[in-house]
C-alpha cells in the first residue's frame, strides 16, 4: 500500500512540471507583451517597465521560466493588478467558502445519487428507474447557471401569481445570496461558516450559514448528481448480473448481506472514480454558481478576474485548481487501493 501511494505521488511530479511549462507558455502567449497582459488596459510605460523588471521579462526565456517556477515553489503566485492583493492570499481567504460549497454539493449529490441509482437498478425499467434516468439526463443538459437562476427565482426571490390557490411567493423561503446574514454577528475561526458556528456554539449562525448553502449546493451538485445516478445504476446492474451474486444468493446468504458485501462494494469502484473526476468540474462549476448567488468563494473571485481580464489571478487559479484536482485524484486512487485490494499489487 505504501509503495502504491509513493509511486502514485511520484507520478504527479511530471504532470505538475508540464503544467508549469504550459502556464508559462500561456502567459507569454497572451495578447501584447506579458507585462501589459498582467497590468491590463490601464498600463503606463512606467508600470510596464516596473513589471518587466520585477518579473524579469527582459531576460532570456529559460531564466524567466526558472525564476517563475522558483516563485511558484515559494508560494508567490504574484498579485492582482486590479486589487493589488497577493493572489495566493486571496485564494486562501476565500477557499474555505468554496470548499464548504463543494462539500455540500457533493454530500447532496452522493446521498441522493447513490440510493436513487441503486434502487433504479434494482427495478430497472420500473417507474423509479424511468424517473431517475430522465431526471439525470435533464441534470446534464441544463446549463448550471440557468438552473441556479431558476432555483433562485423560485425559492429565494419568489414568482408572482398563484397555483391552485397557493401563492407561489410562499415558496421563496430561502436566502438569495451571500454566505450568511450580515446582521448575524458571528465569530469566524476557520472561515468554514457552518463549522465556525458549531465550534463557537453559535447555533443560529451555523443554521443561517447552512440555509445559505442549500440553493447553491443543489445547483452546483446537479451535474455530479446526474452522473452519480447514472454511474451507480449502470454499475449495480452489471454487478447484479455477476455469477458470484447468484452464487451468494444460492448458498442462502441474507439479501442485505449480499447487497452490502457483494453488490455495493463491487459496484462502488467506478462510482468512486467518477466522484473524483467530478471534483474538477465542481470547482469550475463553482465559478458560475457562486456568481449567481454572490457567494464569496474563489469561484466568484475568478468570475470577476475573467470579466476584468485579470490574467495574474486566472493563471494562479488554474495552477491552484490543477493542484487541488491532482490531489483529489490522488486520494481517489488511494481509496481505490483500499476498496479493491487487487490494485495494490499491480
Amino acid at each position: 500500500m505504501l509503495r502504491f501511494a509513493v509511486r502514485r505521488i511520484l507520478l504527479m511530479v511530471p504532470v505538475l512540471f508540464g503544467l508549469s511549462v504550459l502556464l508559462f507558455a500561456w502567459l507569454r502567449a497572451l495578447p501584447g507583451d506579458p507585462a501589459r497582459a498582467l497590468l491590463g488596459e490601464k498600463a503606463t510605460p512606467a508600470s510596464i517597465a516596473q513589471v518587466n523588471a520585477t518579473y524579469g521579462f527582459d531576460q532570456p526565456l529559460l531564466q524567466q521560466y526558472l525564476t517563475y517556477t522558483g516563485r511558484l515553489l515559494h508560494g508567490d503566485f504574484g498579485s492582482s493588478p486590479r486589487t493589488g492583493e497577493p493572489v495566493l492570499g486571496t485564494f486562501l481567504d476565500r477557499f474555505p467558502a468554496t470548499v464548504e460549497l463543494a462539500v455540500a454539493a457533493m454530500i447532496f449529490a452522493i446521498t441522493v445519487g447513490i440510493p436513487v441509482g441503486y434502487f433504479a437498478a434494482k427495478r430497472a425499467g420500473g417507474l423509479l428507474d424511468t424517473i431517475a434516468v430522465s431526471g439525470s439526463l435533464l441534470g446534464v443538459v441544463v446549463p448550471v447557471f440557468v438552473l441556479a437562476y431558476l432555483l433562485k427565482i423560485v425559492f429565494a426571490i419568489g414568482l408572482p401569481g398563484q397555483v391552485f390557490g397557493f401563492s407561489l411567493a410562499d415558496l421563496a423561503f430561502l436566502p438569495s445570496s451571500g454566505r450568511q446574514d450580515p446582521r448575524i454577528d458571528a465569530t469566524h475561526v476557520t472561515n468554514f461558516y457552518v463549522l465556525d458556528g458549531l465550534l463557537t456554539r453559535e447555533w443560529d449562525a451555523a443554521w443561517d450559514a447552512l440555509i445559505h448553502l442549500i440553493l447553491p449546493a443543489i445547483a452546483l451538485g446537479s451535474i455530479p448528481l446526474a452522473i452519480i445516478v447514472r454511474m451507480t445504476r449502470a454499475s449495480v446492474i452489471d454487478v447484479l448480473n455477476e455469477d458470484y451474486v447468484r452464487t451468494a444468493a444460492a448458498k442462502g446468504l441474507a439479501p442485505s448481506l449480499i447487497t452490502r458485501r457483494h453488490v455495493l462494494r463491487n459496484a462502488m469502484l467506478p462510482v468512486v472514480t467518477v466522484i473524483g473526476l467530478q471534483t474538477g468540474a465542481l470547482l469550475s462549476g463553482a465559478v458560475l454558481t457562486e456568481s449567481v448567488f454572490a457567494f464569496n468563494g474563489i469561484g466568484s473571485y475568478l468570475f470577476d478576474a475573467i470579466s476584468g481580464l485579470d490574467f495574474a489571478v486566472l493563471q494562479g487559479f488554474i495552477l491552484f485548481i490543477a493542484l487541488v484536482y491532482a490531489l483529489v485524484n490522488l486520494v481517489v486512487d488511494l481509496l481505490y487501493g483500499v476498496i479493491d485490494p487487487r490494485l495494490r499489487t499491480k
Partner: protein, 313 residues
C-alpha cells in the same frame, strides 16, 4: 433423378446464401447495420434523432422560418428598463431586451449554436485525432510524451481550459469555437489512442501484419475504421457539451462582442437582470439549449449502446 434435382440444388443454394451473408458480415458492415437496426427500435434514439433533425433543419432554414431579420433592434423604442413587451399578434413570443423579435432571435440562435457546435467539435476531433492517432500509431516514447501532454491538459477542468484559451485569443470571431475545441482535444486524443491500442492487440491486426501488409495500410484500413465507433459517439455527446459551454463562456463575458447577436447563451446572460419581470427571456433560450443538448445526448448514448458489442447478445 429429376425429383432429386431441386432438393440437391436447393441445399447448396441456401448454403451459399448463408455463406454470402456471413461473408458480408465479416467485411465490416454488420456492426453498423446492426447498430442501425438497434437504433431504430430504441425510442430514446428516435426522440434524439427527431430533436437533432429539427434543430438542424431550423438552423439551416432560419431565414425562411424566422418572421423578421435577426439582431436588428427594430422595436427598441418599445423596450423600457422595467418592461420588455410580451407576446402580441406581430410577435408570438414578444421582444428581446434589445428590441428584436424573440422568436426570430431564437431561430437564428439555433444556427449560431449549430455552427459553433459543429466547427468546435470538428476542430477538437481533428486535434485530438492527430495527437491520439500519432500516439497510438507510433507507440513507445512518442506515445508516452503525447499522453503526458494530454494528462496535463486533462488536469485543468475543461471550462477553465476554454476560458484560458479564449483569454489568449481575445475578442476575435471564432475565438470561442477554438476555446471550446481546445477543451475537447485531450478527451478525443485519449479516446482515439485507447481504442487504437485495443485494436492493435486484436488477431486480425496480427493477421494483416503476417500477410505482409504495410504498417500504413494496416493502420489506415483496419485499425482506424474499427476505432471510429467510440469517437463518433463522443463527437455526438461533445456537440451537446459544446452548446452548453458556449452559454457558460457567454455568461463569463467571453462570447461574441456584439450584445444583440442571436446566440442562446448571450440571450440568457442579457436576461438575468430582467428575471423577475420577464422570466421568459431566460426560460426560452434555456429551454432551447436544454432540448438541443438533450437531443444530441440521447442520440449519442443510444449510438453508444447500439455499437457496444455486448448489447448484441
Amino acid at each position: 433423378m429429376t425429383a432429386l434435382d431441386p432438393a440437391q440444388s436447393a441445399r447448396p443454394a441456401s448454403l451459399s446464401a448463408l455463406m454470402g451473408d456471413g461473408m458480408s458480415d465479416e467485411q465490416g458492415t454488420s456492426l453498423w447495420r446492426g447498430a442501425f437496426e438497434r437504433l431504430s427500435r430504441n425510442p430514446a434514439a428516435i426522440i434524439g434523432t427527431l430533436i437533432v433533425l429539427a434543430f438542424v433543419l431550423v438552423a439551416i432554414f432560419a431565414p425562411l422560418l424566422a418572421p423578421y431579420e435577426p439582431a436588428k433592434s427594430q422595436w427598441i423604442d418599445q423596450v423600457t428598463p422595467s418592461d420588455v413587451p410580451g407576446p402580441s399578434p406581430g410577435h408570438p413570443l414578444g421582444l428581446d431586451p434589445f428590441g428584436s423579435d424573440l422568436l426570430t432571435q431564437l431561430i437564428y440562435g439555433a444556427r449560431q449554436s449549430l455552427i459553433i457546435g459543429v466547427v468546435s467539435t470538428a476542430i477538437g476531433l481533428l486535434g485530438g485525432a492527430l495527437l491520439g492517432g500519432v500516439a497510438g500509431a507510433f507507440g513507445g516514447r512518442v506515445d508516452t510524451f503525447v499522453m503526458r501532454l494530454v494528462d496535463i491538459m486533462l488536469s485543468i477542468p475543461s471550462l477553465l481550459l476554454a476560458v484560458s484559451v479564449a483569454a489568449v485569443m481575445g475578442p476575435r470571431p471564432g475565438a470561442i469555437m477554438i476555446a471550446i475545441a481546445a477543451a475537447q482535444v485531450p478527451v478525443f486524443a485519449r479516446l482515439l489512442r485507447g481504442s487504437m491500442l485495443a485494436q492493435r492487440g486484436q488477431d486480425y491486426v496480427l493477421a494483416s501484419f503476417s500477410l505482409g501488409l504495410r504498417r500504413r495500410t494496416v493502420v489506415m484500413s483496419h485499425v482506424v475504421p474499427n476505432s471510429l465507433g467510440p469517437v463518433i459517439v463522443q463527437a455526438t455527446l461533445t456537440l451537446a457539451t459544446a452548446i452548453i459551454e458556449v452559454a457558460a463562456l457567454s455568461y463569463l463575458g467571453l462570447g461574441a462582442s456584439d450584445p444583440a447577436i442571436a446566440e442562446w447563451g448571450r440571450m440568457l446572460v442579457k436576461a438575468q437582470d430582467r428575471l423577475q419581470t420577464d422570466p421568459q427571456l431566460m426560460l426560452l433560450p434555456g429551454l432551447c439549449i436544454a432540448v438541443t443538448a438533450l437531443g444530441f445526448t440521447l442520440f449519442g448514448e443510444a449510438l453508444r449502446e447500439a455499437l457496444d458489442p455486448k448489447s448484441r447478445r
